[in-house]
Amino acid sequence: MPDSATAGGFLLVFAIVLPVVGALLSLVLGGRHAERVTLILIPAGLAVAVAIAASIWRTHGMLQYFVGGWDPPLGVAFRADGLSAVMLVTAALLICGIGLFARAQFPSPRGAEKRAPSVFWTLLLTNWGALNAVFIGGDLFNLYVALELLTFAAVPLVSLDGRPETLAAALRYLLFALFGSILYLLGAVLLYGVYGTLDIVLLASRIRAEPAAWAAIALITAGLLAKAALYPFHLWLPPAHAGAPAPASALLSGLVVKAPFFLVVRLWFDVMPKIPERAAAQVLGILGAAAILFGSAVALRQARLKLLIAYSTVAQIGYLFLMFPLAIKPEAGHPWSTFAWTGGVVQAISHAFAKAAMFMAAGLIAEGLGHDRIAGLAGIGRALPISVLAFGLGGLSLMGLPPSGGFVAKAMLLTAAVAEGQWWWALVVLMGGLLAAGYVFLVLARSLAEPLEPLRLSTTISPCRQTIVLVLALGAVLLGFVPLEPLELLQIGRPDIAIDRLK
């Protein structure tokens, strides 16, 4: 653990500041400039993310930066380990895809500023800045502000079209998120009251197994679960994610719900590795299992494509939390524990790509048909083959079939579960895969069916947009060629793991 700022640490500042300054610039310039600023900043932000990852890979250590030169506990630190780097790059790639895709949906007109495009582009940048702030935040209160920034950037995207249903969905989302943040804050203040710091690394060295610490961790975790929409806090997610415009849904389902999950991982594996709470980890696992079974079963019964995908997000979030009972061990650095941990993270990344592709494919299908009723999909496979292919490839990852990132993730969770003798989680993974296969094939079968009368698309869909979606879906597939073993980059900077023990 470096105890001073590392060379290249300033890159972390840029990861946050670039998108945020871009958003402010869009607000001032308004109109068509919002889109331009975003499209200029996307390659710059991607470069910063890649540079951070490269620097971590090269030095095999964390990046650290003390803002204003004040070291914690007085000041605020930004830190990036291997996990942060991977999330930063994932976010940058997805934002890139979403931005290119959204150009056709939110074109900025000449002359007077229009509402939806200006808002969308500004919020896309703010979401990005907030996500990066979550991924590199090293201070619990700074993370609170970052989480709020993320929430307030995500909620207006849901109600962008101003229909009463989406307004209601946005309000419900906001109330859940505010409730989650206040629980989080309550936990954070308890930690400060007992240990006198909010810095994650300092906390990790000071925290002890005592009631106040347990209560604080429980409160923070509960708050984050409400924001991550883990069962039973999932109620807000389907209407919100299904109601948003397609690129916004991709952002929300692919990235925004991963931010609170990322913080739960941070908290459980980095802050309190010394408090092994296997019972609590089992609770998280049970909630995850319930989410998988419930979300998949409800997804099967949906009549609309976007709602089906949204319920599938509820289920896939469940998989993320299966890593807790499998990876939390009394002794640190257990090989299977690292296996399960890696599986969970790979699941987060591959789901991000797969789900973004599926939501945007569904958006194109709905645009072409003028509706997204699953019963009326017949013939779309012939009319929009690339979109349907992208949907199918994304579905591959959800089911966990090879080759796909989802397969790698689920195989790792499955292996860890069997090897540790916790076979019931393996059962849940398999059941979830079967149910996912059910709802994906349901959609594909309908799309490939012969229509009663020749299908006429209400608008033409440009092949370019379909290609972007396909590329994202291929990203999820490509993750399937990742070797089935703990990835070295992901482990850099993790306190309880000695990398050489893994091999």
């Binding site: 307004l167 209601a168 203040v189």
Partner: protein, 101 residues
């Protein structure tokens, strides 16, 4: 130091009261109100912890006090967004039902 204890208990009760309101009130505006009450309870706990940290001539630890100021502003922002969403929703649904009938 003991002077902070009544306020600490007060903050605990405020959190419970607000939570109760959040669960039991069906109207969104009352939920927003209850959320603000929980927020006040949490901030008060910051104040208690700051007061306990009084040292070197300061009446309290300035760090949590500054965090409360930031938190209050953020909570206000959240309330403003929720209220705006609610008002727009009410406008839309009322107009919607009038149009339907």
């Amino acid at each position: 130091m003991s002077a902070a204890i009544p306020y600490g208990l007060c903050s605990a009760v405020l959190v419970g009261l607000g939570l109760f309101g959040l669960i039991t009130h069906p109207q969104p505006l009352r939920k927003i109100l209850a959320f603000n009450l929980i927020g006040s309870g949490v901030f008060l706990l910051f104040g208690v912890i700051a007061r306990r940290g009084a040292a070197v001539g300061f009446g309290g630890d300035p760090v949590p006090q500054a965090l409360v100021i930031t938190g209050l502003v953020v909570a206000f922002a959240g309330t403003a967004l929720a209220v705006a969403l609610l008002l727009r929703l009410v406008d839309e649904t009322r107009r919607g039902t009038l149009r339907d009938e």
